[in-house]
Amino acid sequence: MKRVYVNEEWCLGCRLCEYWCVFSASGEKHFPFAFDGGAKPPAGIQVEERGSVHFAVNCRHCEDPLCLKGCISGALSRDGYGAIRVDKTKCVGCHTCIALCPYGCIVSGGDNMPIKKCQLCAGKDYTPQCVSHCPNNAIVFEEDEDL
């Protein structure tokens, strides 16, 4: 399946991917509306940085996903494209998946709120927004490598 891959060499740490992720997930039509109130909601992609090294990390959509195995409410499932998706109506915010994810790619949506994770902009008719808005091609959407 196609996954989002990040090339650390070209990541500028600008964090635009995080903002476009939030916008895409929000379903809003106007970019600023996704950020009402100012503080950025958690995104499905996160830039990790220390000093001059930075790179974005997001869900690997593992072959053998621990998050899915550990989910107590059946909120996590694999869709027809192979992406691990969360059903927000079922997620109880227990954070078991967050504790299990070896990549640290699932983030809390707040206490007792559904978790946030990359769904590859599934259900949208566009390339994942973190990819198309990366100013330096540091994030690409490509077919499987060996994982």
Binding site: E9, W10, L12, G13, C14, R15, L16, E18, Y19, W20, F23, F31, P32, A34, F35, G38, K40, S52, H133, P135, N136, N137, A138
Partner: protein, 500 residues
């Protein structure tokens, strides 16, 4: 101390649109933008803004714009704002004013005062999408006549020529003045386009030797990075006598830009200023130039054409005539509107002549003397579009050099602050985090796109004139008409006025 210089630009933030993502703060190397956590507010220091548009281009909410300040001096057509500010700057610093890129002064642009012909009724125009259209160009000395051996093969001595799929090359920009990634973009694009890029006088980074077939290596007055392997690495060697933006003076790359890689490539100590002398100290005459031309040919087994690049100055035709007799294969003429990484402002803005006039004068002179075939002619120094290329070829150029348009394709916004070394677009900088902003995969593609688009347009214009080979356009000044030019200007350009 009183600060006499007020900011030139104002950063305007639309607070309704701003989502406080702080990409502006992270991306501005000039530290114009900042964020105050206590007040949860973004603020700006306009005095640091160079108007490079990095923040504007990356702002996901389109919340930013940069405007020229309307803070003003009492208007004067003589003591303009620029003049006043320059005087303040020099009274502050006591130094020579420095500037980057081409002159912004409003000198006449002769490209814009020439119009191109097209066929109507009596001669057919050609559709380049349906019929063959040749823009391949061979650069170098051409034989006067061909002699054949009895078996039909060519007996005439063939001279080394550069083969260009498009009559456009990337002109000299040194590694040091621009980043390694910028060089990599130019090298990759040149290879894909079947043309050449030019190392400038900073030597050739070891990682770029693999692009040698599409590289012109430069030998300038500082001789930085010149050694036998370097000379053999390229397809042609260019002796740089002068640069359009700063005729008559040398170059100065500040020590702060001479890091480990640049130091190794230039073969000079880290952190030392790289100062190119104004003249080549071994060239004081055409005879001396001939010695260097033949030294370089000897060093490369007479297999590579030698280019001599000069700035367009008052006696350019006579100088070019000398160069054509020196054994050089190609003359490159750089007009005074051409760009630079750094030049004394007064020289950039006042020394030299427009390349259009220089080209016409050189081509005319070499034809009159019967030595036009001795050399190819390349012009640079503000060739801004495919129309400029067509006009240059019609005036007599074999090919053109472009640099500023190439940099624009890579993201340059002509903020003319290259000399600061903090190019936000990763071009004119050696700071690793900034250099990384220019991904060669993107840059090379954009350069290829630009030149491909120009090539299409050149073919369209040629087709319109009923010409299907660029050879038939070269020096074909009947295809040009002047508009709004004096008789003297028309005479120098060798063209008629529109309507004639």
């Amino acid at each position: 101390m009183i600060d006499y210089i007020q900011p030139d630009y104002e950063v305007v933030r639309n607070k309704d649109l701003c989502v406080k993502c702080k990409v502006c703060v992270r991306q501005c190397a000039n530290q114009v933008h900042a964020y105050d956590e206590k007040r949860d507010a973004l603020y700006v220091d306009n005095s640091k803004c160079v108007n490079c548009h990095r923040c504007v281009s990356l702002c996901p909410a389109h919340a930013l714009k940069i405007v020229k300040t309307d803070h003003c001096f009492k208007p004067s057509a003589n003591y303009t704002e620029d003049i006043i500010k320059d005087i303040y700057r020099q009274a502050d610093s006591g130094g020579v004013l420095l500037s980057s890129m081409g002159t912004p002064k409003s000198y006449p642009v002769y490209w814009d005062k020439m119009l191109i012909n097209a066929s109507q009724v009596t001669n057919p125009s050609i559709d380049p999408l349906r019929e063959p259209m040749e823009i391949k160009t061979f650069l170098g000395k051409k034989p006067e006549a061909l002699e054949y051996l009895p078996d039909g093969s060519i007996k005439t001595e063939k001279y080394p020529n550069l083969e260009l799929k498009v009559p456009i090359m990337f002109s000299a920009m040194s590694y040091g003045s621009i980043s390694k990634n910028a060089h990599l973009c130019l090298a990759r694009a040149a290879r894909e386009l079947g043309t050449f890029y030019n190392t400038g006088e900073g030597g050739l980074h070891e990682d770029l030797y693999e692009y040698g077939e599409n590289t012109i290596v430069q030998v300038a007055s500082g001789r930085f990075g010149v050694h036998p392997a370097y000379l053999r690495a390229g397809s042609a060697i260019e002796i740089k006598i002068g640069q359009g933006a700063k005729p008559g003076i040398g170059g100065h790359l500040p020590g702060s830009k001479i890091g480990e890689d640049v130091s190794r490539t230039r073969m000079i100590p880290m952190g030392s200023d790289a100062i190119s002398p104004a003249p080549h100290h071994d060239i004081y005459s055409i005879e001396d130039l001939r010695q260097l031309v033949y030294s370089l040919k000897e060093a490369t087994d007479y297999k590579k054409p030698v280019i001599v690049k000069i700035a367009a100055v008052h006696n350019v035709a006579a100088i070019a005539s000398g160069i054509a007799r020196s054994g050089a294969d190609i003359i490159a003429i750089d007009g005074f509107r051409g760009g630079t990484g750094a030049a004394p402002t007064r020289i950039r803005d006042n020394v030299g002549i427009p390349v259009e006039l220089a080209l016409a004068a050189v081509d005319t002179r070499l034809r009159e003397e019967g030595i036009r075939n001795n050399v190819g002619i390349v012009v640079g120094g503000s060739v801004r579009s495919s129309a400029d290329v067509v006009k240059a070829v019609a005036l007599g150029a074999d090919a053109v050099y472009i640099a500023t348009p190439a940099l624009l394709a890579l993201g340059c916004h002509l903020c003319r602050s290259c000399h600061s070394g903090r190019c936000n677009w990763g071009i004119a900088t050696q700071i690793p985090e900034l250099v990384n902003r220019l991904n060669p995969d993107i840059g090379a593609r954009r350069l290829v796109n630009l030149v491909t688009a120009w090539a299409h347009e050149i073919m369209e214009m040629m087709g319109g004139m009923g010409i299907n080979s660029i050879e038939a356009l070269r020096g074909n000044r009947l295809m040009l008409r002047g508009i709004g030019l004096s008789q003297k200007e028309l005479d120098i350009l060798g063209i008629k006025h529109a309507g004639e």
